[in-house]
């Protein structure tokens, strides 16, 4: 039994479904774009808030893509995955890679606005940003899966979004820098995966504004670490046998 066959099939499924619901693209890119325009214009510095808005786009997109697992469960498609011999780990990987790819595509669309933000990154910076976006997307998709797996309604997910994910983004350095924060907030920021996502993108796109944020190598290392931990946790959760119905 091939491990990768189901992974690829589920990855493809995510892309096909996304392509058939084009309104999703607009929804996910539009709101961070509005945020960016408003906050950037308010502070009179479009470049400063560009990386943060990009992180927000990727976060919205990765999370909204993984919560489709809740629809998969409700609409029954998940049933056929669960009673198939495909390993649960390959199901998790397929879903997470699929969602990460979608978030990456949307992140890249947002990245196309970089010149408008006055971002002067060269080819290397843009390439680095493209790679960073995938890494961030992958980590956040892992987080989304972990949250969504046990949920049975998308309503609950919105609460998580408002109470956990948006605050996470606010203390990532997107709005105020780590260096200027109060001590306890600083610790929260340093424990926050999004802080490193943001530092990673700042380093590539606006290195002049990256002073005071964690160095690139540390950010890469920690983002990968967060990603792997979340993926392993998701796989463990999905592999659990239960006397409660799987769907």
């Amino acid at each position: 039994m091939s491990f990768w066959l189901p992974v690829i099939a589920l990855w493809k499924r995510e892309l096909v479904r996304f392509w058939r619901q084009k309104s999703r693209i607009l929804g996910v890119v539009a709101s961070p774009l509005v945020f960016w325009l408003l906050i950037g214009s308010g502070f009179g510095d479009m470049g400063l808030f560009f990386p943060g808005s990009l992180v927000l786009t990727v976060m919205f997109s990765a999370i909204f893509s993984t919560i489709t697992i809740i629809e998969d469960r409700r609409e029954g498609f998940l049933l056929s995955m669960l009673v198939s011999p495909a390993s649960r780990t390959s199901l998790v990987l397929g879903k997470v890679f699929g969602s990460a790819t979608l978030a990456w595509i949307q992140g890249m669309i947002f990245l196309a606005f970089a010149p408008l933000a006055g971002v002067k990154a060269g080819a290397a910076g843009l390439l680095g940003a493209a790679a960073s976006i995938f890494l961030i997307a992958f980590t956040l998709a892992g987080l989304g899966f972990l949250i969504a797996w046990k949920m049975n309604s998308t309503q609950g997910f919105h609460a998580v979004m408002n109470l956990a994910l948006l605050p996470m983004w606010m203390v990532s350095g997107a709005i105020f820098p780590v260096a200027k924060a109060q001590v306890w907030v600083k610790w929260v920021m340093l424990a926050n995966p999004l802080t490193y996502s943001l530092a990673l993108l700042r380093g590539q796109l606006t290195p002049e504004a990256a002073a005071g944020s964690p160095p690139t190598q540390v950010s890469i290392g920690l983002t990968v670490l967060f990603g792997v931990v979340l993926l392993v946790a998701s796989a463990k959760l999905a592999n659990r046998k239960s006397t409660a119905s799987a769907a």
Binding site: S2, S80, V83
Partner: protein, 302 residues
Amino acid sequence: MISVQNVTHRYGSRTALAGVTFRVSKGEIFGLLGPNGGGKSTLFRILSTMMLPSEGRTVIDGLDVDRDAAEVRRRIGVVFQSQSLDKQLTVAENLRSQGSLHGMSGSRLAARMEQVMERLRIADRRNDLVDSLSGGLRRRTEIAKGLLHSPRVLLMDEASTGLDPRARHELWTFVEELRTREGVTILLTTHLLDEAGRCDRLALLHEGHIVTEGSPAEMRARIGGDVVVLESADTATLGGNIEARFGVRPKVVDGTVRVEIPNGHRFIADLFEAFPGTIDSVSLHKPTLEDLFIRETGAVCT
């Protein structure tokens, strides 16, 4: 082929299955019959490896469903009552992704897809989105999906739900063929008595217990003689009077009084002499599965 041993399942404090035991032989069409809430769905979830029972053991094709879940999943095809198709994909895309989940690819998958689509007559709809299909076509696609990996055991949960009589008839012809030609063992749940009558063997599941089991003919024979059904303005009183006078045990169900008795025609004559003017109508028939169902569950099968 399937062996369910002393399976008990509880949801919190509610017991859905209480020590259920039965066997299904290879190539058999086995029906789990019962009213809603009787435990059919719970048992189906356990058999299809979707959850573990609180207690007991289930073996399919010699493999323990708990320990060898992955191997069991290779051998079973599952057709769910609720739909399990991705509505935003086409028929062919649904089948292809199902094939991938079962480790099939390339020409082997393509050939098998052709075969099942032909058999279920959905080949001309292969490029249609499932969302645009009628209920009957969706069901056929579900079944095609369940059969794609050539399972040895097919599990069907209320498979004919939402099908019109003709589609239901076709489904049954297909199921019988599958058993005869390919020796597939079929276990299905149903609450339809005409469907139950076409099974080789049946188990009647009620309140978490198997109350009776056997071939449809054996089950019908378990009711001796005839069934007499009476209508009356006051069924409770009539039932009581009949019991007192004739020493039989009538059942008052759904506005009728039902009596199982040999030589029903004589009994009817005696009844009218004993209780003139209180009986509005009377009917007599040979026992059916419905009679057994009513006797065992006290409910009318809908």
